[in-house]
């Protein structure tokens, strides 16, 4: 909301702050000052005064000839809005083209509604923008949603008054009424949504452009002058916070105003020219046949005040905040009025606001007002008293503030305060503060005005709490540290994904949670796995020619829970992707990443969180995995066969769609499941083995279909059977080619024997090796190298 210093001063006698002091004061009371505007920002272009030379009446409009520094311009203006020759009007130039309205004026059919006349004392043909604003400034405020009362100049005046200990007040009203009897009927058929409705009839008025002072006020407050009646209602809304509406009384059929709920399907064209289709829960103002306004939101075009209007029905009422809010949301129509009704208006100032409009209009020109009030319902009772303990206030605010000071602050804010016994006070909440209902609300008011700077800081004293680092958090941290130290970059990606990518990946639809009201199709699903998000990151980096890196993310994925009590499942996954070369392949040979680099990384992780390779088993997927190439995809399982993760080389076809030409290796692990396997472990250090080791190499020729895992399993079986002292078994040569039949490959592995108790003798080792060989020979498709070539 905008406030102008000059307008604020009318409600606050003795205000003598600079604009920046005022801004600072408001900020410290919880009113966010978004900007302090000087003149240049309000009137973006210099404003000149120009002289009206001649008025030529044409059919339907008036042509005014305006001179500015020897040049004459012609402007088409509505008949009612054309000034007389000799008047001075505003002119600005945008790209050399003259404009006769300082704001974005609505020019229907190239026709201006009116030209604003400047006061006599402005010399024609000069830049008058500085003179217009004078010493004034405008503050743009952001009002929190609880403070409907501060959506008004008077509300801001009270805030300033409370801090500076100044007097604030409403200006007195003065206008003339006549006794002529008028017949008008008012029916409130929805007292629940409109507890109080008042109407006043202006029996004769001429619709004119507003005088310069009123137009200027509106400019400063960010509103556009329209005509004297509408401008007066708008200005009073800004002053008091009470929205008003003026109807052309002659267009209200049968002189009947009805406040009622809309009939389903009823239509109303609002003054913004949009046809609104109404529903039963919406409150309207109607005449005896159809709606003429959306209550508290916007008037109808059918009763809009126009230059032909002579009689005006002026509405000032209280509308239910929830009803206004719902209707405004349903129609997508937010207005200055609806914003105020939603937050609550002052029921005690409903009639005052009408009277204020009439006072302003009577200063603008001749009019007659009927004495009668048309009233339905009564102002809602808001009286409440709250007993507040001053000691409690001091405790909450942790500052020493005297009871007298508290009472003074509350008094200036408009609260009634009566001191009571035992350091207490009884506080009467004023009608405009619907947000205050509890003692803590009163304490906040005291704290706000007294200033949060006065609160003395301390650190809460607490019984000792040993804290709670959860094992899972610790393991997650371990994994993150490990990967970063290994050279991987942590990423954070959006959990919302594009269904198109999902479709391309072939992820089943029922796995995915859809957002009911997405911002765009691109982000309309919750991911059920991380791969989709990784692809986007990979694509972006490839486009920027960053081709050698590893990335990872630990983040939640989502899926609908199968018939569970809770409808959703959230699970933490770890995604890892790597591509390019581990070393930059520049002057030395790089090391291209491959599936075994990825696998090694996973094995190391499993190792450092204290799991055995037998607890997290790499295996072939039962079926093709979407997005992965057929060879080299793998599944991770626990010994019971539960899925712990998956990975492999990403499918070329998929990558090409994303314009990625590099090989990408990707794995995704269900870390929570893996951490669960890890459990609590006690580290027990073993004796350091200082006995010498003996190594033996064994070479095998095996069928291509035989895996190392099968051989390894047989070896460890024989290790167990004969209680061999084996420290390690590792493959060190893998070979296939010309010297071998095409269906065979050669595997050489090294067994390291070391006993923790003694130096092993050659005899023992030879015996074990022969046992191993015996066992291996029993395997189908496995041959000892020395025997294969001799047979």
């Amino acid at each position: 909301m905008k406030i102008a210093y000059s307008i604020l001063k009318r409600f606050l006698k003795g205000l003598g702050l600079s604009s920046y002091e005022l801004a600072d004061l408001l900020i410290h009371q919880g009113l966010v000052v978004e900007r302090v505007w000087g003149m240049e920002e309000i009137f973006a272009l210099p404003i000149f005064s120009a002289l009206v030379e001649e008025r030529r009446d044409k059919l339907g409009y008036t042509e005014c000839l305006v001179t500015f520094q020897d040049k004459t311009f012609s402007v088409a203006v509505e008949k009612w809005g054309a000034p007389s020759p000799g008047d001075k009007v505003l002119i600005t130039f945008k790209n050399g083209i003259p404009h006769f309205s300082p704001s974005r004026g609505e020019e229907k059919r190239g026709l201006l509604p009116f030209l604003l006349t400047l006061p006599e004392n402005f010399p024609a043909g000069e830049d008058v923008s500085e003179a217009l604003l004078g010493e004034d400034c405008v503050l743009d405020l952001e009002i929190t949603s609880n403070r409907g009362d501060c959506l008004s100049i008077i509300g801001i005046a009270r805030e300033v008054a409370a801090k500076l200990d100044l007097d604030w007040g409403y200006p007195a009203n003065c206008y003339h009424e006549d006794d002529s009897s008028v017949t008008f009927s008012l029916y409130d058929e929805a007292l629940d949504l409109c507890p109080y409705y008042t109407g006043k009839l202006i029996t004769h008025i001429e619709i004119r452009p507003s005088s310069w002072p009123m137009a200027k006020d509106l400019y400063l407050l960010g509103l556009r002058p329209i005509n004297n009646v509408v401008d007066a209602t708008n200005l009073v809304m800004m002053e008091t916070g009470q929205p008003l509406h003026a109807f052309d009384a002659s267009k209200i059929r049968n002189k009947t105003v009805v406040v009622r709920r809309a009939r389903s399907g009823e239509k109303l064209i609002t003054i913004d020219g949009v046809e609104r289709v109404l529903s039963k829960e919406m409150l309207v103002i109607a005449d005896d046949s159809s709606p003429i306004a959306l209550a508290g939101i916007m008037g109808g075009e059918n009763t809009e005040v126009s230059p032909l209007t002579e009689t005006v029905f002026l509405e000032s009422a209280i509308f239910d905040r929830v009803s206004v809010r719902r209707t405004s949301k349903l129609l997508g129509l937010r207005t200055e009025a609806s914003a105020r009704f939603e937050r609550g208006v002052d029921p005690e100032r409903v009639k005052y606001a009408s009277e204020r409009v009439l006072s302003l209009l009577s200063q603008e020109g001749e009019m007659t007002v009927a004495k009668a009030w048309f009233i339905a319902g009564e102002p809602p009772q808001t009286e409440r008293s709250i007993v507040v303990s001053c000691q409690k206030a001091r405790e909450v605010l942790n500052c020493s503030i005297e009871k007298e000071q508290m009472m003074k602050i509350l008094g200036r804010l408009g609260f009634g305060v009566t001191p009571s016994q035992h350091d207490q006070m009884i506080v009467d909440v004023p009608s405009f503060r619907s947000d205050v209902s509890l003692p803590i609300d009163i304490i906040e008011e005291i704290g706000r005005i007294n200033g949060y700077g006065a609160i003395s800081s301390r650190f809460p004293t607490f019984p000792f709490d040993p804290g709670n680092e959860e094992e899972e958090d610790h393991l997650e941290q371990t994994i993150r540290n490990f990967l970063v130290n290994r050279g991987y970059k942590e990423i954070v990606t959006l959990s919302l994904i594009n269904p198109k990518t999902v479709q391309e990946l072939g992820i089943e639809d029922d796995q995915i949670i859809t957002i009911k009201n997405p911002l765009s199709q691109e982000h309309s699903m919750l991911r059920s796995q991380l791969l989709v998000s990784f692809l986007e990151v990979l694509r972006l980096n490839m486009v920027r020619e960053r081709n050698h890196f590893g990335i990872f993310e630990v983040s939640k994925v989502f899926s609908p829970a199968p018939n569970g009590e809770q409808s959703w499942k959230e699970e933490k996954h770890l995604g890892i992707a790597l591509c390019g070369s581990l070393f930059p392949p520049l002057w030395s040979k790089g090391l291209q990443v491959d599936l075994y680099v990825l696998k090694g990384l996973i094995e190391e992780m499993i190792d450092i969180i204290g799991l055995h390779s037998q607890q997290v088993i790499f295996s072939y997927p039962e079926e093709e995995m979407a997005g992965f190439s057929k060879v080299g995809a793998f599944i991770l399982k626990d010994p019971q066969g539960n899925r712990l993760g998956w990975g492999g080389q990403l499918e070329e076809k998929l990558l090409w769609k994303l314009d990625i030409r590099e090989e990408i290796y990707y794995a995704e692990l269900r870390v929570e499941e893996i951490f669960r396997l890890s459990g609590k472990k006690v580290l027990q250090v073993q004796e350091i083995n200082v006995f010498p080791s003996t190594t033996r190499d064994i070479s095998l020729i095996v069928d291509q279909t035989i895996t190392w895992g099968q051989i390894e399993a047989v070896l460890y079986e024989s290790v167990r059977e004969h209680q061999m002292d084996v420290e390690d078994i590792g493959v060190f040569d893998l070979f296939e080619g010309e010297s071998l039949p095409p269906d065979k490959k050669s595997i050489t592995f090294r067994v390291v024997f070391r006993s923790p108790r003694k130096t092993l003798s050659d005899v023992e080792v030879e015996y074990w090796v022969s046992e191993m060989k015996k066992k291996l020979k029993d395997m189908r498709g496995v041959y000892l190298r020395e025997e294969f070539f001799h047979s």
Binding site: Q29, N468, N485, E490, I491, T493, S495, F549, L582
Partner: protein, 350 residues
């Protein structure tokens, strides 16, 4: 070379005298490491005189064996030392001719980095842990009750406009703040307690330089008898000093949140202009870092706490915003884009 009979004679051993002097002569003439290896073989190899005599040593009578054994070992050691020395000399000369280019780049592996948003999250959590706070968590898919109702934000509350939400259906939505974790934490723990809850949040905001439909927050909650605004202020000031530095000032100003009363916005003095006003702080000298306040009595009632018995304070901060302030990031989208060149800049923070 003489290799007669099985009987070792003393004159064989006497020949060692001349052996050493001819070794020295040969050594002086050596020019390359290859030559050196040949000399080594000639004088110390298995087939050299010394090797031969060493293998014959055990055939000597006891006393002679001892005498010649010692003598030959000394000789062998001395010859080995001389060879080693010569080797170093030759090797150094070779190095001088073909030096290693130490200015070539080393074989650097990838540089790992934590994500800046999570760096900031972890730094903040570490500070609060050191203040004795527990770290709790909550789901990202929340019910309307936890996200709004229990926090005093009814469906017709204008405050809902500030938090446009992504809905999954009528009842469930993506949490718009970490504040629902306040409710969950109060249901889980028994006062007194101090807890922080980090997590992702979602709002129906279109992407621009300062908005993202997804962002991270850290919620803080302290519940104990007698908690006041003073405790809130002291705790946050201590946090600001630890996180931003001792020289930064903290400002509390009134604000409004439906679930706290009194409510406050916390500003920290601008680290670029030191309060003078600059572009970074919108010419105010202050940077807004969090919302805070005392827990509203209604919120306590909603979880079955008695607001007459316990009081509490709560705060919530946006991590991206703080990361932007801390690192001078001007566009929030960089955090979600994950350009590895952007991420690499955070390599010194681990």
């Amino acid at each position: 070379m003489e290799r007669v009979g099985a009987i070792v004679t003393f004159p064989d051993f006497e020949r060692l005298e001349g052996y050493f002097s001819s070794f020295k002569e040969d050594l002086v003439a050596v020019k390359t490491i290859d030559e050196l290896n040949r000399i080594k073989g000639k004088y110390l190899g298995r087939n050299s005189l010394l090797g031969e005599l060493l293998s014959k040593l055990r055939e000597l009578p006891q006393e002679e064996k001892k005498k010649w054994g010692q003598k030959m070992n000394m000789l062998k050691t001395e010859m080995e030392d001389m060879l080693k020395e010569k080797y170093h000399v030759l090797h150094f000369e070779k190095e001088k001719r073909k030096p290693l280019d130490i200015t070539l780049p080393g074989k650097k592996q990838w540089t790992g980095t934590f994500h800046p948003v999570l760096i900031v999250r972890d730094q903040i959590l570490a500070i609060f842990r050191s203040f004795g706070f527990r770290v709790e968590s909550g789901p990202e898919i929340e019910s309307d009750f936890y996200n709004f109702e229990a926090l005093n934000i009814s469906s017709d509350h204008p405050a809902r406009d500030d938090q446009d939400s992504f809905y999954l259906n009528e009842k469930w939505l993506l949490r718009t703040h970490t504040s629902p974790a306040q409710i969950r934490t109060m249901q889980k723990l028994t006062p007194p307690f101090k807890a922080v809850v980090p997590g992702r949040c979602y709002r129906r905001d279109a992407f621009d330089a300062t908005h993202s439909p997804m962002f991270h927050q850290i919620e803080g909650l302290v519940v104990a008898p007698g908690i006041s605004m003073g405790d809130l202020k002291g705790t946050i000031e201590a946090f600001v000093h630890r996180f931003f530095g001792k020289e930064r000032r903290t400002r509390f100003r009134p604000s409004y949140f439906p679930f706290t009363e009194p409510s406050a916005e916390v500003d920290v003095s601008c680290g670029v202009c030191w309060g003078e006003g600059c572009r970074a702080c919108g010419h105010t000298g202050w940077l807004e870092i969090m919302g805070a306040g005392l827990v509203h009595p209604q919120v306590f009632l909603n979880v079955g706490y008695d607001p007459e018995v316990v009081q509490g304070f709560a705060f919530g901060m946006g991590i991206e915003r703080i990361a932007m302030l801390k690192f001078g990031v001007t566009d929030i989208r960089w955090f979600l884009e994950n350009d590895v060149a952007f991420l690499e800049q955070f390599k010194t923070l681990r």
